[in-house]
């Protein structure tokens, strides 16, 4: 099957990290939270530096020298951590962007997360720029003059900013402005943008797994000790520093501007931003029809509300006069059409209304629960092997229908989390020897929580649970992407072998029971 090369490259990278970190600690699954963690490091180290920093043209450089050399063991390490965590954040942000893009998670209902992520990059970069400015060394001078040139090239300010940085012109006023921006203004805007960025998703994780956070922190501390961050010579506006050790994560625009021009640098940065902004609509992607609530089958239990990954469901007072207190409403504008809510609803029970059309409290018009039940029934009936396995897959992971044969049949849902646990029992009851759920890779559900909820429902941690009486030996959960055909086949083979053993034992037991009866 054809998988686009960018996605293939991403999946390979992800696999490599799965091998080295395992699926729980895989940094590719925690890039957003890792960035948050780096921000905490930056915040704490920044507060410490602030204690010793003097925000004036004449005091800044000396105070940073003190931080770096006199008190190298704490303040110096803090300075290095502050710098390196900021650099690391650029790496995690770019990987985060790449991941969301490569895995197609930027279009349709996700446009909001995508578009609200982009201004964050601008803000983070300018935050780094004002940070380098505060040191007031030769690099700061370069950055100050470069920034002034960039601003001067815009038709906004009538007087020349650059002339502020001529010999003898520079005042503390300017310095205090930059200090205010770096210490207060920009961080506040950043927190607002981050809040906005995760507004449309529920159960947002802020912290990465402890092991990953520890590893990352130790790496940064080690780097800070091996290569402490240092300043250039003090700023001197009567001369131009000829050699600069630039931080290319933050300051790459300036050499480009020297090489090209201010105008072209603006043009390039703006063009990249605009192109990225428009990506979700090139071409536009239509999400399926939104989930629909059927109050006749809803008791207001709120399970769907708890499980919706995209804040599309809200709870309100009952409106239909039924004896229940609450009901749920879906906001179609926010609905991703993932179907997870259908899997949460206790009414999505295939053993109900077995003779008529199955109705549930919240259903997907594109693939209603009744249809899921009949597909399951048909798939089970169509198999004729020794150990028949029903594969339940989704639209975003591995295509289960690729493995269809006499003893294997796939049913594709929108998301594995759409599967009501009772449907598994139903399939076994209808004659499947085993049920294998093949969602996205573990911890990397396209709809965020599908495979997580499946795990928790099956282990009894989260409602609706898979009942104890369902034979766990006949149920397998194994995630995989489009490129994981081989490992899924191997897992299926091993599973089938176990089922054959189980079947044999059942036959033996039945036979021995028969003989003892005789």
């Amino acid at each position: 099957m054809l998988v686009n090369p960018i996605k293939r490259a991403y999946l390979a990278l992800e696999s490599w990290f799965n091998v080295s970190f395992g699926t729980e600690w895989n940094p590719m699954y925690h890039l957003g939270t890792l960035t948050f963690f780096l921000f905490w490091i930056i915040l704490v180290s920044g507060l410490y530096l602030f204690v010793f920093f003097h925000g004036s043209i004449n005091g800044a450089y000396e105070s940073v020298e003190y931080i770096t050399h006199e008190q190298w063991y704490v303040a110096g390490v803090m300075r290095s951590l502050h710098r390196y965590a900021s650099d690391a954040a650029i790496i995690t942000i770019l990987l985060h962007l790449f991941k969301e893009f490569a895995s197609g998670r930027y279009r349709g209902f996700r446009w909001f997360s995508w578009v609200s992520g982009l201004p964050i990059i601008w803000l983070v970069v300018t935050l780094g720029i004002t940070g380098y400015w505060l040191v007031w060394d030769e690099l700061a001078q370069y950055v100050a003059i470069g920034s002034a040139r960039l601003l001067d090239s815009l038709p906004i300010f009538s007087s020349s900013m650059t002339s502020n940085f001529l010999q003898g012109q520079m005042t503390d006023r300017f310095f205090i402005l930059i200090e205010f921006l770096h210490l207060l203004g920009q961080p506040l805007i950043l927190f607002f943008l981050l809040w906005l960025h995760v507004k449309r998703i529920s159960n947002v994780e802020i912290n990465p797994p402890r092991g990953l956070a520890m590893g990352c922190f130790m790496a940064l501390v080690a780097l800070s000790l091996i290569k402490p961050a240092v300043s250039h010579g003090p700023a001197d506006l009567s001369s131009m520093p000829s050699m600069l050790e630039l931080d290319w994560f933050y300051l790459n625009a300036y050499p480009l501007m020297d090489y090209w021009s201010e105008g072209y640098t603006w043009l390039l940065a703006t063009a990249i931003t605009v192109v990225l902004m428009l990506l979700p609509w090139a071409p536009p992607k239509k999400d399926g029809p939104a989930a629909v609530v059927d109050l006749a089958h809803c008791n207001g239990c709120e399970l769907c509300f708890d499980d919706c990954p995209f804040e599309a469901i809200s709870v309100q007072a009952r409106t239909d006069g039924a004896k229940f207190e609450k009901e749920v409403v879906v906001d179609p504008a926010l609905c991703a059409s993932c179907g997870i809510c259908m899997g949460s609803c206790p009414s999505s029970n295939p053993f109900r209304q077995s003779e008529e059309e199955l109705k549930t409290g919240i259903d997907m018009p594109a693939l209603p629960v009744d249809k899921v039940r009949s597909l399951t029934k048909e798939a089970v009936a169509a198999m004729s092997g020794q150990a028949n396995v029903l594969l339940v897959g989704c639209e975003h992971g591995f295509n289960v229908n690729r493995l269809d044969n006499d003893e294997t049949r796939g049913v594709k849902l929108m998301c594995s989390g759409m599967l009501p646990p009772s449907m598994v029992e139903y399939a076994l009851k209808k004659g499947a020897d085993g049920v294998m759920i093949v969602g996205c890779r573990h911890n990397d559900c396209f709809f965020r929580f599908g495979n997580l909820w499946i795990d928790k429902r099956f282990s009894g941690e989260r409602k609706p649970i898979l009942r104890k009486r369902a034979d766990r030996r006949r149920i397998r959960v194994f995630g995989g992407s489009e490129t994981d055909k081989r490992s899924i086949e191997n897992e299926l083979k091993a599973f089938r072998q176990e089922l054959l053993e189980l079947n044999k034992n059942v036959i033996d037991n039945v036979a021995s029971e028969d003989s003892s009866d005789a």
Binding site: S159, S242, M243
Partner: protein, 178 residues
């Protein structure tokens, strides 16, 4: 049998192998930050280069001379507007030319900004030059009424490598080199 044994050994070592792989990943991550936080070194100026910056604010002369209003003209105006002289507010553009060792280095004609072209002009220009002894000549014309350049300046300069040689202007003192 043998296979099972190997598999068992591998799974025992699995944790160790994983930590080694993680260490490799973290090292790569550190190496990336290590390198790009300061390298490659960016060279702004060659060893024998310096910067010449000209920067000043200056308002050009009023474009037209004031004319005395005739009695008739005065009467046509509302009483509170009857100023005896009629002065236009429009200012002349600033024309500036800079020669470096006889070669043109920079020239500009800056129109006076403002709604009525009545404001002062900010001149700012910065160029790379070679360090050493040079001859600098600057001519400026700030009035359309006067024939030729209104300000002329010449000086021998000795520029140190990496120096920013700053040329300013002051209406009373003319051009100044710092």
């Amino acid at each position: 049998m043998l296979r099972a044994k190997i598999r068992q050994m591998l799974s025992l070592n699995n944790k160790v192998i994983r930590y080694i792989l993680q260490a490799i990943n973290y090292s790569l991550f550190m190496a990336l930050i290590w390198y790009f936080s300061t390298s490659p070194v960016y060279r702004q100026l060659a060893d024998d280069e310096a910067i010449l910056t000209i920067s000043f604010a200056h308002a050009g002369e009023i474009k037209e001379p004031c004319v005395k209003r005739t009695q008739k003209e005065l009467m046509a105006l509302p009483p509170n507007m009857r100023a005896p002289m009629n002065c236009s507010r429009e200012r002349s553009p600033i024309v500036i030319e800079m020669m470096f060792d006889g070669e043109p280095l920079y020239s500009e004609t800056a129109e006076a900004p403002g709604l009525y072209n009545d404001s002062g002009v900010d001149i700012y220009h910065s160029v790379k030059v070679s360090a050493g002894k040079h001859h600098l000549a600057i001519r400026m014309d700030d009035s359309v009424l006067k024939e030729g350049f209104t300000h002329v300046f010449e000086q021998d300069v000795d520029i140190k490598p990496a120096q920013i040689l700053l040329v300013g202007f002051n209406p009373s003192k003319g051009f100044i080199v710092r």
